[in-house]
Chain length 463, copies 2
């Protein structure tokens, strides 16, 4: 593949959120006469919402294609040469080229680039357990994974499901399988579900999930996937017990997919994610950008780099990379670690540091937990909500918030996310002018109640 003269070529590795947002934004800023854009995607879908898979499996979303933001054809209609089922097998930084392999034919060829965007995403952890590849054991990272799981659910007579892992994907898949009529058991290595929360808040999730009829097994490591005579999964074994299963869903997290980048000698952080500057340029490489689930991002609260695979970050990265590639200027200042999820009616949210993050960062802090309600207590539909708040000693700076509640609880975390971004103190937060009316909030919003208590703790706090 030879470049035509007089225009630059942008090569994008990865046809999902970060890569295709970057390509689209670059195209908005530079026409095909100035910039050629070639994108490579190993899989069969482009620009899909992986976050939506649990709701498709659960039946809330009825058509797979609703999860596709933009098809390959739509990208091509925008003068982006998107090549599907084409895997990049090598990045040759010295020569400025990538080697692509047609997944179907096996043909390989080199494509030179002037600018490169690495958006290779993350790969799901799949522990090397006996039986883990048996039919009936599913990951849920791609639309193909989702379809395979749905096919299993449709084909099997079974009614028992085991979900391995109790993070966001695990609890969302538990909901999906409950909605499909399954008896669901979640087997979780941690002390409580939702390890992104402190265990005391995870405990609330645990109790609520049990209240929904979901079996929660905590502190249990899966040792083997047991299969029946037909070779299909029949149970999941831990050191202590066996949990019968007609279907098993693996939701134990992901790692940055940076095999190519590592081989190319690009800089990786502790998690294995690519390290970039604020403009999302790979450090030390002026013409290579990276974004989405394959990079580490700066945590603005702890000052450390972290791997936080989330579609909302991937989209922002893509937008910023595309702007920079297209000759504009944009930066990604970092994250504060906000996440929100739900399990049936339960809403779970967090932002900033947990206690163990704050300790690891060497911070001293006060911790408070309060109970309040989503609406004025007298207003119909007011539901209880627990808010935990961490504030730094002496400075009173907000460090983190965790919320577990029902309708109206989750998105309240945004208040704390913005306050964290602004470096606000909990004392200042006590007088935040938040929206109040009885259908929306008690006269003191739950976040304000927590801030008042945290401010008191800081005032009384030690050195």
């Amino acid at each position: 593949m030879v470049k035509s003269r007089g225009r630059e070529r942008l090569v994008v590795i990865g046809g999902d959120a970060a890569g295709m947002s970057a390509a689209s934004q670059a195209r908005r800023l530079k026409g095909p006469g100035e910039l050629e854009i070639v994108a490579f995607e190993r899989g069969t879908f482009s620009s899909f919402s992986a976050c939506g898979i649990p709701y498709w499996v659960g039946g809330d979303v009825t058509e797979r294609d609703r999860l596709i933001a933009r098809t390959p054809e739509e990208h091509r209609a925008r003068d982006i040469d998107l090549r599907m089922r084409t895997e990049i097998t090598e990045i040759d930084v010295a020569k400025g080229r990538v080697r692509a392999r047609d997944v179907v034919s096996g043909d390989e060829s080199w494509t030179p680039y002037d600018k490169l965007v690495i958006a290779t995403g993350a790969r799901p952890l799949r522990p090397p357990l006996p039986g883990v590849d048996a039919p009936g054991v599913h990951g849920v990272q791609t639309l193909d994974d989702g379809q395979a799981l749905l096919d299993t659910l449709t084909a099997t007579e079974g009614r028992r499901a085991v979900v391995v892992g109790a993070g966001y994907i695990g609890v969302e898949m538990a909901e999906a399988l409950i909605r499909r009529g399954y008896e669901v058991t979640v087997v979780n290595r941690g002390q409580e579900p939702m390890a992104t929360l402190d265990p005391d808040m995870g405990r609330l999730v645990h109790e609520a999930m049990e209240g929904m009829g979901i079996g929660m097994v905590n502190g249990a490591e899966v040792t083997e996937v047991l299969t029946g005579d037909d070779g299909r999964v029949r149970a999941v074994a831990t050191a202590d017990a066996e949990y019968p299963a007609d279907v098993v869903v693996l939701g134990i997290g992901v790692r940055p997919e940076t095999t190519l980048a590592e081989r190319a000698g690009l800089p990786l952080g502790e998690s294995g994610g690519l390290l970039t500057d604020l403009a999302m340029r790979v450090r030390g490489h002026g013409n290579i950008w990276a974004g989405g689930d394959c990079v580490e991002v700066l945590d603005l609260v702890s000052g450390r780099e972290r791997h936080i695979p989330l579609g909302t970050h991937a989209n922002k990265h893509g937008q910023i990379i595309g702007t920079n590639v297209g000759g504009g200027y944009a930066t990604f200042p970092g994250v504060v670690g906000t996440a929100v999820s739900k399990v049936c009616e339960l809403e779970i949210a967090r932002t900033g540091l947990r206690e163990k993050d704050a300790l690891r960062a060497g911070l001293r802090f006060e911790t408070v937990t309060i109970e309040s309600t989503s609406r004025a207590g007298y207003y119909p539909g007011a539901t209880p909500m627990t808010v935990k708040m961490l504030a730094e000693r002496r400075t009173g700076r907000l460090l983190g918030v965790q919320i577990v509640g029902r309708e109206g609880a989750g998105k309240r975390v945004d208040i704390a996310a913005v306050a964290l971004t602004a470096g606000m103190t909990v004392e200042r937060m006590t007088t935040l002018d938040l929206g109040y009316a009885p259908p929306f909030s008690p006269v003191w919003d739950p976040v304000l109640v927590a801030a008042r208590k945290a401010a008191g703790a800081v005032r009384r706090g030690g050195a």
Copy 2:
């Protein structure tokens, strides 16, 4: 009434949110041996939620007493000498005393104070129209007002209601009367309902209310309340038309109730509200505090003082005053002008400056409006939402946000409220780490979509 030696006396005028929060907080910090607290309330209820009245009238709240946060007996049990049905008729600043009149007996007496809290609230506007005092015409500021209206609704056979005014109280009462089965017409002097929004956003409220079957008459001034042979209201007249009415609700706003303060020579602002320092002390008076609906507050966005009667501010003022009176230290930095409301399924929110506020403050700004949805587009229950955003030219500082949508729209204004408090730019807002999951938000939260568009307008903007 003579003070006992050796302890101070705090006198509180007004037994509602600001006054009784102040009294309660002062009591928490100082016991009865140190501080005597005497509070005077003209009415028959203490510490009630005026904001809850529309939901009581509408039937969402079934018992009046649910709106009472704390009864006079509960206050007295906390060693607060709360005297109900007792009106203060004079503040004698020079001698440090107030004159109280028993509303029932008419007896008057002086009570000396060491410290005084003025929490006299606001009085509803009641235009001096012919017929405005006829039976069937109701205000909705106190629980007695609410009860009287409910009595009218129960007693009359009528099915037609006219609401005068289309601000928060007007639209909330329109919902309440619709829920009671009335045909409702809202007669509004302004160009569109919700004058706290710009007219283009008010237009969306207008259309939604008509869609709910509420008659909206805009740009119409009521000239007379017409009565029938029985002396009861029968219609509301404007210059152009008559609107038949079995019941009329006045919701045309309030003014600070500062008659006493004015006579005592205390400093008032343009709106007639008391002027205080950041510790809520009346300016120039070291031992007099004021809070709640009778004061002006600093608008942190425009830098001007404004009158914003809202229960959430009143509660904060009371808390701060009580802390200061009790020997602690707390300040109220000001407001950003956040408000949220709903009419049936419609949610309406605003914070910061409208276009006309920004013009009045001498600011140049960019204005953008975007459409988005409350959840990922593919997730069930995703509803459309319109977000308008104002940003200052050159600096890009966020100036204001208005939101009209359905479930999940209103409280998103808190994101902007915190950003305004922090003086954040719209460019910085584009990368805010807000909670994302398909049931909670599109991958770009609507507020982020607006921020991106606003940031683009600022970049392209003129001088």
